[in-house]
C-alpha cells in the first residue's frame, strides 16, 4: 500500500457571480501517493484548474475555499498555514508549473537572475544549487550557455516552458503540479516535455499532478486518472482501467469523441449538449442532460457518490452496473 503524500478531504471552492454562489469544486476527496503520477482530466467548467490553485491556497477573489482539508505528508494542513509558512512551503514542498508558464517569467529580468531570486527566497535550503541547475537544464534539453544569460523574449515558447519547469524543480519539491503544461506548445516540444517528465519521475521519484483537457496527454505519463465534471470527480482509476475498462458514461464519451491518428474514425461521436453552466446545474446527477444512458433515477435522486466498484476503481454513477453489463 503506497503512502499518501497529499490528502484532499471535502474540498469545496466557491465564488460569487451575479449574486449566485457557484461551486467550482464540490466536496472533493482525492489522495495523491508518494511517487504517483495522477492526471486530472476534464473540460471547461469542470473545476480542475481551481483544484490545482487551491492546493497551494492560490485562489484569487472573488473565489474562496469554503471548506475542506488539504493535508500534506500526513502532517501539515496547507489551508492552515500563515503567510510566512506558506511562502516557505510553496516551491520547497509543492511547486507548480502554470498554464502558459512562458507568460509567468518576468520579461525584464534575465533567466539566471530569476533562478537566483527563487533560491534567495528560500535561504534554509542549502544544497549545491549550481550543479542542480545544470543537471535540470540537461534533463529538459536546454543549453545553459544559450539560456541562462538572456531575457525571456529571446527564447521560444517551448524553451520558456522548459525554463518554467526547471524553476519549479530547483528546490527539489516532492510534489509538482502542472496545469496544462503543454497547451500552446507545438507537438514536438510537447512530446519532449512529456518524455522529460517521465524521466524526472523515474530518476527523482517526484510525485506529479498533471491537469489537462486532453486524454492523450495523460495516456503518455499518468499512472492514475481522475475524470472531473462540473466540480466533482466522476471516475477515478488506474490508467489502464480508464482507457480499457471505463465505467462512467462521461469517460466513455470522452474516449469516443477524441479524433486521433490511430483507431477507428467512423465511430467517433461528440458528447451531445454543452459544457455545464455552473450557475444552473440540473437536479440530480449533473451529467443527466447529456448522458446517453439517462433514466429517471438520474434526474430525481441525489447526485451519485463516488463509490469503489472494483479494487481501486471508483465511479459516481447510479446506473454503472446496468450500463456496463
Amino acid at each position: 500500500m503506497k503512502e499518501i503524500l497529499l490528502d484532499i478531504k471535502g474540498l469545496t471552492v466557491e465564488y460569487l457571480s451575479n449574486s449566485k454562489i457557484i461551486k467550482a469544486v464540490d466536496n472533493m476527496d482525492l489522495a495523491v501517493y508518494k511517487e504517483d503520477v495522477i492526471g486530472i482530466v476534464g473540460e471547461s467548467g469542470c473545476g480542475k484548474s481551481t483544484l490545482a490553485m487551491s492546493i497551494l491556497n492560490l485562489i484569487p477573489s472573488p473565489g474562496y475555499i469554503r471548506d475542506g482539508l488539504i493535508i500534506f505528508d500526513r502532517g501539515i494542513n496547507i489551508l492552515n498555514l500563515n503567510e510566512e509558512e506558506l511562502n516557505r512551503f510553496r516551491w520547497e514542498k509543492i511547486s507548480m508549473v502554470f498554464q502558459a508558464a512562458q507568460n509567468t517569467l518576468n520579461p525584464v529580468v534575465k533567466i539566471n537572475e530569476q533562478l537566483n531570486d527563487i533560491i534567495s527566497a528560500h535561504p534554509n535550503i542549502n544544497t549545491s544549487i549550481r550543479e542542480r541547475v545544470i543537471e535540470l537544464f540537461k534533463l529538459v534539453k536546454l543549453d545553459p550557455e544559450r539560456v541562462l544569460n538572456v531575457y525571456p523574449h529571446q527564447l521560444s515558447g517551448g524553451m520558456k516552458q522548459r525554463v518554467a519547469i526547471v524553476m519549479a524543480l530547483i528546490l527539489e519539491p516532492p510534489l509538482l503540479i502542472l496545469d496544462e503544461p503543454t497547451t500552446a506548445l507545438d507537438v514536438l516540444t510537447q512530446k519532449q516535455i512529456l518524455e522529460t517528465l517521465k524521466e524526472l519521475h523515474k530518476t527523482k521519484n517526484i510525485s506529479m499532478i498533471l491537469i489537462t483537457h486532453d486524454l492523450s496527454i495523460v495516456a503518455e505519463i499518468a499512472e492514475r486518472i481522475a475524470i472531473m465534471y462540473a466540480g466533482k470527480i466522476v471516475e477515478l482509476a488506474s490508467i489502464d482501467e480508464i482507457f480499457y475498462n471505463s465505467k462512467h458514461p462521461y469517460t466513455k464519451g470522452l474516449l469516443k469523441a477524441a479524433p486521433s491518428i490511430v483507431g477507428d474514425i467512423e465511430s467517433l461521436v461528440s458528447i451531445p449538449g454543452s459544457p455545464p453552466d455552473l450557475s444552473s446545474l440540473p437536479k440530480g446527477c449533473r451529467f443527466n442532460d447529456r448522458c446517453p444512458f439517462v433514466k429517471d433515477i438520474c434526474k430525481e435522486t441525489e447526485q451519485p457518490l463516488l463509490t469503489e466498484v472494483l479494487p481501486d476503481h471508483l465511479v459516481a454513477c447510479h446506473r454503472w452496473r446496468e450500463i456496463n453489463g
Partner: protein, 334 residues
Amino acid sequence: MDNNILMRIDNLNKDFSSRESILGKEIQIHAVSNLSFDIYEGEVLAIVGESGCGKTTLGKILVELLEPTRGDIYYRGKKLREMSKKEFRTYRREVQIVHQDPYAALNPVKTVYQTLSSVIIANGIARRSNEVREKIDELLTIVGLTPPGEFINKYPHQLSGGQRQRIVIARAIAPNPKLIVADEAVSMIDVSLRIGILNLLLKLKEELNIAYFFITHDFGVARFFAKNNRVGVMYLGKIVEFGSTEEVIRDPLHPYTKALLSAVPVPDPNLTRSRKLLPLKSLDIPNPANIPSGCKFSDRCPYSMDRCYRERPELIQVDKNRLVSCFLHIKGCL
C-alpha cells in the same frame, strides 16, 4: 469529387521584415515561400503544421486579408489582381473564413441577429426584414442551434464556445460560399464537442458543395476531417509533403512528417508509451536569422546528407498524387 479547379495558387510568396532588436539588423522572414497548388471544387485540403510554419499567413492570403509579396492567386481561372469589380464581388462572396477563436470572431456588442443580418443584407441574399429573419432562422437551424428564436437576441458572451463557433459557421455560409478557409476551427473548442462541429462542416460540404482549406496543427483532427481527401505538411513557409491523408499518415516520406507523427500522443496508453519521438538534432525551430541555406530542415533532420546543406529540395512528384521535397526521395541521391 469534381475535377474543376476552384482556386489555383501559383508561386506564392509572402515576406515580412523584422528586426531582432532596436538597433539590430533587419531580416526578411519568408512566411510563405514559393507555394503552388490547386484547390478543387468540393474537396477538403488540409494543411498540417506547427506555429511559425506560415499556415495562418497562407490562409489570410487566400481570403485576401493579406497581399502576397510575389505570386498569383487564380479564382475560377481569373487572377485576383486582374479581376473586374463584379468578378471580385463574386470571389468575396464565395470565399469565406472561419477563425480559431469563436469569441474574438464575433463583435461583442452585436446580437446574433445583428451579426447575421448585416452579412445577409450586404451580400444581397435578402432585403426585407421578414425575409432576413427567415434566412437567419434557416441558417441557425442548419448549424444545429434550435429553436432559432432562443438565440436570435443573444450576445456572444451569453453563448457557450461551441454555440459561438456555430454562429461563426452560420455567418460563413450565409453568402453561399464555395470555399471556406478554416483556420484551426476546432482548436479552442472542448475535445468532446469537436467531432460535432467537424461533422457539421462535412455535412455542409455534402449538401452545399463547399470546399475547405482546413488549417490545423493536429494530425488527428486532419485525419478525421480530410478523410479520403488530401493533406499537405508545412514547415517554415514551404510545403514539404503532399498526398492523400491516409497514405501520408500511414507512410510518411518526409522526415519532418515522420517526426510529427511520432510525436502526436494517442488516447491509448500501451500504444503511446511505446512510440518514441524521432530523434531530432534540435528541438526548436531555428531563429529567423539562422534559417539553413540548403534544406530548411537540415539543421534538425536526423538523416541530413551533404547535399541537404548545400541545395534546397523542390516539391517533386514521387508517386501518383504524392509529392515530397526531400533529397532522400529523389532518385539518384541515395
